[in-house]
Symmetry: C2
Subunit: 401 residues, 2 copies
């Protein structure tokens, strides 16, 4: 007789944080979620005395909760941000508004990617190598005018001499802050990037750079010596032992929350994707110092950081990697994020729209925004996306009464 | 002071079926999931005394559990199944093998879709209207030869006189069974389809049709009279009050499990998609009678049925609609399905590969198979897909010891 493998479902053991401290709380009453005739009808259940596992899960859902479920579409931009062969424009920041114009910042570089097999001193190892941060403006969000560089790479020997890229923008107290990834030469596979900061009293600059980076990878992993591979480790260290990517600062609860994507030395690939997690570092002032939260990582999945404020808390779009890929999450405190929706694969590297009233709808900042497209593996361009909800409600309530 | 909306997370209240009967079971011990140093390290957690909600959910995941997480890609077919303008070939059955050739069945029709505004007696209201069931063979799974019709529409006045479509194939005891959707004229928006069955001792036919359908929608909804809309109801009825689609019969535990997609009168749209659920009807013999399970519906999300046997149970791919879209699920009993993975948006209308040893891997039947593509809204063609796992494991275990 064939020995059966034990199958452990992913969700059956997934106690949420609310349950973690013990059962019998009001989200998991000892006799299970409340079953009403209205709910039986709502979920099309044919026999309330014979509930399938799927029906039981449905009965535990909140009241409809359609608000966070959205679909995306992408569109081409016009003007200077339309695709240009030979040029990389990628990883757009959030969109802000100033003097009647939309502003966006992004990574810009030229030329093809060589990879790591070439001479690293002269090669371009990634599309985001050899970048400066540029910006563009638009009157309608569709046709953009490239204005010029905002932040350039530093002098040889500085922490940002090789590339400055993957930028975000924060407006605070009449000042503008750009935070971005920095790499110091040489850009080898094992290089540990950092996060830079620059500020100005105008979105058009000029920008003053922080003398020191404001965030660095943790220093607690251990490479196997004599190798170049980022996978060859004696000890992986923390979730952010290798990289601190996609920085995004949000003013929150009187402080400044710097969310970032951590990459790990000896990064494994499981649950269908890379082990990628988000962290947050918190400061009293925009210029820092930023202290990593002891609660890190604050996601268990995800890729590029996409964060916005809503209803007194912070919302987060989790994409690409991990079991919680393609979910929108929300936290009351910027630390403890719960899943609010499961959505079809969304665009990557989103720059949200911060010109709208983000309280109008849970995903108002995603009604339109910017993303990028890999037109080729060498060249990417900024694109626009839109999102919407599909809804149709009927008169079921009349029957349920 | 602005009144805060109460936010109810989707997952925090989502007790799984195992928890439903009360807490304190071994999947939700009173002191929470076991936290070991190995797990803290595995999930990159920086401080085991300060666990974020996301980290707590990660700690409750099963050991890696990478097996069910897959990615898909699609490819074009050659020969007679390549796209042909003016022709609809869609909703491929599973692929089986006979005398060294692969076989597939599918819906075939010709001409553009008119929709419901035209004269329904003469129009084609959907791409799947006016269909017959055809079949094709292939030596390599890439180049296909269209062999001819397998099951034609019935004589005027019969229950399948308008269209026969969305077919599946079952081999059992040296016999071949096709089950498929049937529509009786006129194909109005409110028409209730049925499921037909045909059998042969050869996959090349000839096929004998069942005199009566083997499955029908439930008869427990109530239309608002005098309207044509499928949304105008006094009472929605069961999850399958309007349609029984995508039939697929699986021999299981000495019986025959007919899985199907239910569509509901007065169908609402929430959780980001249509309210679509799967049901199962069980018979002692392939020809029926099929009795709907009292545990229906056995999914709370999903669209086309995609089902296979694995490890003594039944696996199911859930796509497109509902909070559990884009998951692979498994049940030990064909009734109680739990979520095994969350995957990026998979192909639609999959015909799995039943020529392989489905026990070799949880998703072996999805290594390659068939799907369809909307080349235009009028014309679809059969395509091929492949799937694989992304994996990279390191030496973390050494450190954790």
């Amino acid at each position: 007789m064939k020995l059966k493998k034990v199958i452990t479902p992913l969700l059956a053991t997934a106690c949420s944080s609310v349950l973690f401290t013990g059962c019998g709380t009001q989200t998991c009453p000892d006799n299970g979620p409340e079953v009403t005739d209205a709910k039986i009808y709502r979920y099309g259940i044919t026999n309330k005395d014979s509930l399938s596992a799927a029906s039981k899960r449905a009965l535990a859902w909140p009241e409809y909760g359609n608000e966070w479920f959205i679909h995306f579409e992408e569109q081409e931009l016009k003007g200077d941000l339309a695709y240009e062969e030979g040029v990389v424009r990628r990883d757009p920041s959030a969109v802000i508004q100033h003097n009647g114009k939309y502003y966006v910042w992004y990574s810009k570089s030229i030329g093809p990617t060589d990879g790591f097999d070439a001479d690293i001193e002269t090669a371009k190892v990634f599309p985001w190598d050899r970048c400066d941060i540029w910006y563009a403006t638009s009157e309608d969000g569709w046709t953009w005018k490239e204005e010029g560089p905002a932040v350039l790479r530093g002098e040889p020997g500085s922490y940002d001499d090789r590339s400055v890229f993957t930028v975000e923008i924060m407006e605070w107290d009449s000042m503008y802050y750009l935070c971005y990834q920095t790499v110091k030469s040489p850009y080898v596979e094992r290089v540990k990037n950092q996060v830079g900061l620059a500020w100005s009293n105008s979105p058009d600059g000029p920008w003053t750079k922080s003398e020191e980076p404001i965030l660095s990878p943790s220093n607690d992993g251990e490479w196997i010596e004599g190798k170049v591979s980022r996978f060859a480790v004696k000890n992986k260290g923390s979730f952010d032992s290798h990289k601190v990517h996609d920085p995004c600062i949000i003013p929150f609860k009187g402080k400044f929350y710097l969310y970032y994507k951590g990459e790990r030395m000896g990064e494994e690939m499981y649950f269908g994707g890379r082990e990628i997690r988000h962290g947050v570092a918190i400061a009293d002032n925009p210029k820092g110092p930023y202290i990593k939260s002891p609660f890190n990582p604050i996601s268990n999945s995800g890729h590029e950081v996409c964060i916005w404020k809503y209803n007194g808390g912070i919302a987060s779009l989790i994409t690409t990697d991990g079991p919680e890929k393609n979910t929108i999450q929300w936290s009351p405190d910027g630390i403890n994020f719960e899943i609010m929706s499961y959505i079809p694969t969304p665009p990557h590297a989103i720059g949200v729209n911060r010109t709208v009233d983000s309280e109008k709808d849970p995903t108002e900042v995603l009604r339109w925004g910017l993303t990028h497209e890999y037109v080729t593996s060498d060249y990417q361009c900024i694109r626009r996306f839109s999102s919407w909800r599909k809804e149709r409600h009927g008169n079921f309530a009349d029957f349920a009464k």
